[in-house]
């Protein structure tokens, strides 16, 4: 496990919300390894999403350093971050963020058009088991199906890392498990590093490592000797 994907050093983020200053990340140090499944747990406002956003190049750190392999993300400009997102990262959000005016297939195709070595949109949809419904609009799909479209869209460009912010947050347990299954399947088949933020403690069992967040810092790291399959989860 010497192949490091992310290295964070004293990573700090403060932002201003309304009239108050919030310290979202406090000098965080962390390493993420290739092919890992990592679950980030912690209460709201503990810094999980902030970390994920900075790792995904969606936001800037206030100070400290973050490396993606040998590349320092913290000194990239907007152009550089865009290129980084295009080539290396896939996102899955809690609220799917599908474009309502595009079908499942087209939502995925939106990404294939700007990436270098994508798979075909239908391949990606097959990976999440949604091939039969690929010509439906988001409004015609259930929440779980929408989230699987979002996953297909995230992995269609063969990213090295898949960043998932509360992917099951808006789903019931049965569909949630199908979504986790899809994520683990991607990890197994493509070797993609997967980071999952969740409030749901039972999901931690599928991870290689679990990071517990509190107050902008990692309070504890738990290593699972054996990962459980998604189907064995209960919540």
């Amino acid at each position: 496990m010497a192949d490091t994907v992310f290295t964070a050093r004293a990573l700090t983020k403060t932002y201003i919300s309304g009239e108050t200053q919030v310290l979202a990340l406090r000098a965080l140090d962390l390493e993420i390894f290739a092919g890992e499944v990592v679950v980030l747990l912690g209460p709201s406002g503990s810094g999980k999403s902030t970390l994920l956003n900075i790792m995904g190049g969606l936001d800037h750190a206030t100070s400290g350093q973050l490396f993606f392999r040998d590349q320092e993300l913290t000194n990239l400009d907007d152009w550089g971050l865009t290129a980084y997102r295009r080539q290396h990262v896939g996102f899955v959000f809690q609220f799917y963020n599908l474009i309502p005016s595009l079908t499942a297939y087209e939502n995925v195709a939106l990404v294939t058009e700007i990436s270098d070595h994508p798979m075909r949109p239908d391949e990606a949809l097959a990976l999440v088991g949604l091939e039969p419904r690929m010509h439906h609009f988001p409004a015609q799909l259930s929440g779980g199906e929408q989230q699987r479209v979002a996953i297909a869209r995230a992995i269609v460009k063969r990213p090295e890392v898949l960043l998932c912010d509360e992917p099951t947050g808006a789903l019931d347990s049965k569909t949630g498990i199908r979504v986790i299954e899809a994520l683990l399947g991607i990890n197994a088949q493509l070797g993609t590093t997967v980071l999952i933020i969740t409030h749901n403690a039972s999901i931690q069992d599928v991870a290689d490592r679990v990071l517990f967040f509190a107050d902008g810092q990692i309070s504890r790291i738990q290593k699972n000797e054996a990962r459980r399959a998604a189907a064995e989860l209960v919540w």
Partner: protein
């Protein structure tokens, strides 16, 4: 097709109502330009082509009796391209089944071939056979007014003898596009006709064998009109020549020019306002519409799309909307332009119409609309694209609201919470609120400008016919008559009052500025034909000196008390200097007025009369008309009030049509603005409004909260709209004021009320459309999709 283009297409389909509303606002702006400028250019081209093909002359002169041999002499004047000498006389007409005496301008036609200048366009029939004294061609307007066709008969008093004439042809002439009879100020086809007859026949009637009484001259390109006029005057001087004049003093041309000027003025004033207002509103609307896409923009950035692709995508979006608007506007504008051109073409009796193609108009209107739309989109994108994707994907942070009053003042006793929401929301977006208000105010303003013409016309009619020229008719004579003719007229049946009037043609000059006018002599106590000052009060004519139209004083740059130089063009033909002692507020033409006795002294003659103003007993009119028809000395009877009624009818159609079109376009713009403001507010505040529904507010209450702000802005916008409308109307009437006609700016209260009513109706209509949306507001999904 690229996926982003599919999204573009589907977004347009989804937002079709809003896209269409925006497109219609653009269409309103574009079509006004295309219609106004397009129809003006077509009419100008038509006139130019008409003048050219039918060889309309440039200079005109009259003489008492000039020998034909002078024609060669006139042709040799440097700069003269063509000469047409003819006999022109006025004659009183007697038309079967028509009691009012009409006036005919009788003009000779050469025995062989066409006239060298001012050729006829034959609508029907033929020209008179050589030497036939009973055959006549009449102008189309006159023929239509009396239902004449070839074969119809009427009588004319030619040189004191009544003759029966038969209509053999109906024609149009570039010389009489606007046919205004002597003494009249408006065209009245029933009472004024142009009658073309054989030259030989007219020569023998008027004893003008081998002579002419009128000459028209065509100039070479670049020739000096002034020089030709001077030489022409010199040649005709010995033969009773009256001062020659150019096109600008030719009645028909001057009126047509004035009408086209009015149109040109409208096309310079209104369309730019429409276009700018629409561009501005589109800009405002698209800014908000694109800002609503914030989260999708954030997502596209998260997926790795570059700013440039995102900006291009949204630019395409607004360009498509703008293009739809431009296409609708160009098509509507072209169609309306053709319609208007036809309408005016018929009014002017143009024999044909030339429709000009004006690609430049389309380009300018399209470019301005596109730029406005693009800037609107870019303004919103600049904000959103700058945000980090993580931030953009979140809804905007709650705006910072301010207390309107200190916390310890219990405002909630006076205003409800929904009202407070509205107030805070308005204050929170001061720029947007004031722009929205400005948009509404401009909509009201363009409506006021579209509608004020009618008030102003009515105001002009009031002053002219009910304060100043209060006579029912004016009897004019073939030659000036001694004063006792007034008593003769006064004794005619039906005459209640009679007042003499003397008219002396003069050239009036101050420094290098010179005009041809008529000085009218009025008795001291004239009561029918009064002089009105700027305050609309009748004033007494000073017993010395000269009263001038205010417009004339302005043109000559003279003030009260200063002197002007006057060439008398009649009688002694002296040049005198007179002080300006009063200014007249009048709206048609420019003129001077003097006390009748003072004028007689100036002319060194006994008091004489050219015409008599009469006030008539309505019940005895026919008897009066019959008596007038039996007087050979009478050349015409002008019936101002009758003309007025006809004129008002004719002009009303044009004004109503134009005002109707502009009002329609302004209403479309108003609707587009209000509808889009309401729809976008709804999108921006969907969550807030759905929350209120969840809390138990009814649909009506939610609708009220949404629309209260717009309602308040719409109402607040009205007074500034009126002020702006009045200002624009003032600009228009100032530009319109000319020597031929000017107006007093009148905007009646109903006009303001009507303008506001249209804007408010548009607002209510869009509110009704938005209400359907509120009813469909999906409470659960709105609240569920975001944390």
């Amino acid at each position: 097709m690229r996926t982003l283009d599919i999204k573009l297409f589907r977004d347009l389909v989804r937002l079709w109502a809003q896209a269409l509303a925006i497109a219609l606002v653009i269409a309103g702006g574009v079509s006004t330009v295309v219609l106004a400028v397009g129809s003006l250019r077509s009419l100008e081209e038509t006139r130019a082509a008409y003048y050219e093909r039918y060889r309309f002359a440039d200079v005109f002169a009259t003489a008492r009796r000039a020998p034909r041999t002078l024609v060669d002499q006139i042709a040799e004047i440097p700069g003269v391209a063509g000469v047409d000498a003819r006999i022109v006389k006025l004659a009183l007409l007697d038309i079967p089944n028509y009691s009012e005496p009409a006036t005919g301008q009788v003009i000779s036609l050469p025995e062989i071939g066409e006239p060298a200048l001012n050729r006829l366009y034959m609508r029907e029939g033929r020209t008179p056979e050589p030497g036939r004294a009973d055959e006549a061609v009449v102008n189309e307007g006159f023929a239509k007014a009396h239902g004449f066709t070839p074969g119809s008969r009427f009588s004319a008093i030619l040189n004191g003898r009544k003759r029966e004439l038969v209509v053999v042809g109906i024609a149009l002439s570039p010389e009489f596009i606007y046919a205004v009879g002597p003494g009249d100020i408006m065209p009245d086809d029933r009472r004024f006709g142009v009658i073309w007859m054989s030259e030989r026949a007219l020569a023998s009637v008027y004893d003008l064998d081998d002579a002419f009484s009128s000459v028209a001259v065509k100039l070479l390109l670049g020739a000096s009109e002034r020089d030709v006029i001077m030489r022409l005057d010199a040649i005709l001087d010995r033969y009773g020549g009256r001062a020659a004049y150019g096109r600008k003093d030719q009645t028909s041309h001057a009126w047509l020019d004035h009408e086209l000027d009015m149109l040109s003025n409208m096309s310079r004033t209104l369309p730019p306002i429409f276009l700018l207002v629409s561009a501005f509103l589109v800009n405002l609307t698209l800014t908000r519409l694109v800002a609503l896409e914030r989260e999708q923009i954030g997502l596209m950035k998260a997926l790795g799309y570059r700013n440039a692709s995102i900006v291009t995508h949204y630019l395409k979006f607004v360009i498509v909307i703008a293009t739809i608007g431009i296409v609708i506007g160009a098509a509507t504008g072209t169609w309306l332009g053709i319609w208007i051109t036809n309408l005016f073409g018929a009014f002017f009796h143009f024999p044909f119409l030339v429709f000009t193609k004006s690609p430049d108009l389309y380009v300018v209107a399209a470019a301005l609309s596109l730029i406005a739309a693009a800037i609107g989109a870019l303004r919103a994108l600049r904000e959103v694209v700058r945000l980090a994707p993580a931030v953009a994907m979140q809804p905007p942070a709650p705006p910072r609201f301010r207390r309107l009053v200190p916390a310890n003042v219990a405002l909630d006793k006076f205003v409800s919470q929904p009202t407070m929401m509205m107030l805070r929301n308005t204050m929170r977006h001061p720029v947007r609120s004031s722009f929205t208000m400005l948009g509404m105010a401009l909509a009201t303003a363009i409506l006021v400008v579209s509608l004020f013409t009618r008030d102003t016309m009515e105001g002009l009619i009031d002053v002219t016919f009910f304060l100043a020229d209060r006579q029912d008719g004016t009897v004019s004579f073939v030659e000036k008559r001694p004063q006792d003719v007034v008593m003769q007229i006064a004794r005619l049946p039906g005459v209640l009052a009679a007042e003499p009037s003397r008219e002396v043609p003069v050239r009036i000059r101050s420094g290098t500025i010179e005009r041809r006018i008529v000085i009218g002599g009025r008795p001291l106590n004239a009561d029918l034909n009064r002089i009105i000052d700027a305050d609309l009060r009748p004033v007494l004519l000073p017993d010395t000196g000269l009263a001038l139209s205010s417009m004339l004083a302005q043109v000559l740059e003279v003030e009260l008390g200063q002197s002007v130089e006057i060439d008398l063009l009649e009688g002694t033909q002296r040049t005198v200097s007179l002080p300006v002692t009063a200014l007249i507020e009048d709206y048609f033409g420019i003129r001077g007025m003097m006390d009748a006795d003072a004028l007689a002294r100036l002319m060194r003659e006994a008091p004489t009369v050219n015409s008599v103003n009469v006030s008539l007993d309505g019940s005895a009119r026919d008897m009066f008309y019959a008596a007038i028809k039996g007087m050979p000395v009478v050349s015409g009877l002008a019936l101002q009030r009758v003309s007025l009624a006809n004129f008002r009818e004719a002009i009303a159609l044009l004004i109503t049509t134009m005002a109707g079109i502009y009002t329609g376009l302004a209403a479309v713009i108003a609707f587009g603005v209000v509808y889009n403001s309401a729809r976008i507010s709804l999108s921006e505040r969907a969550r807030e409004l759905a929350s209120l529904r969840v809390l138990g507010f009814t649909r009506g209450e939610v609708l009220r909260i949404l629309l209260l702000e717009l309602a308040v802005l719409t109402l607040l916008a009205q007074p500034p709209g009126w002020v702006m409308g009045y200002g624009l109307a003032w600009i228009m009437q100032t530009n319109l004021a000319g020597e031929l006609m000017r107006v007093r700016l009148v905007v009646e209260q109903p006009t303001y009320v009507f303008a506001s009513a249209i804007v408010i109706a548009a607002a209510v209509l869009s509110a009704l459309v938005v209400r359907r949306r509120i009813n469909k507001l999906d409470l659960v999904s709105v609240l569920k999709t975001r944390d």
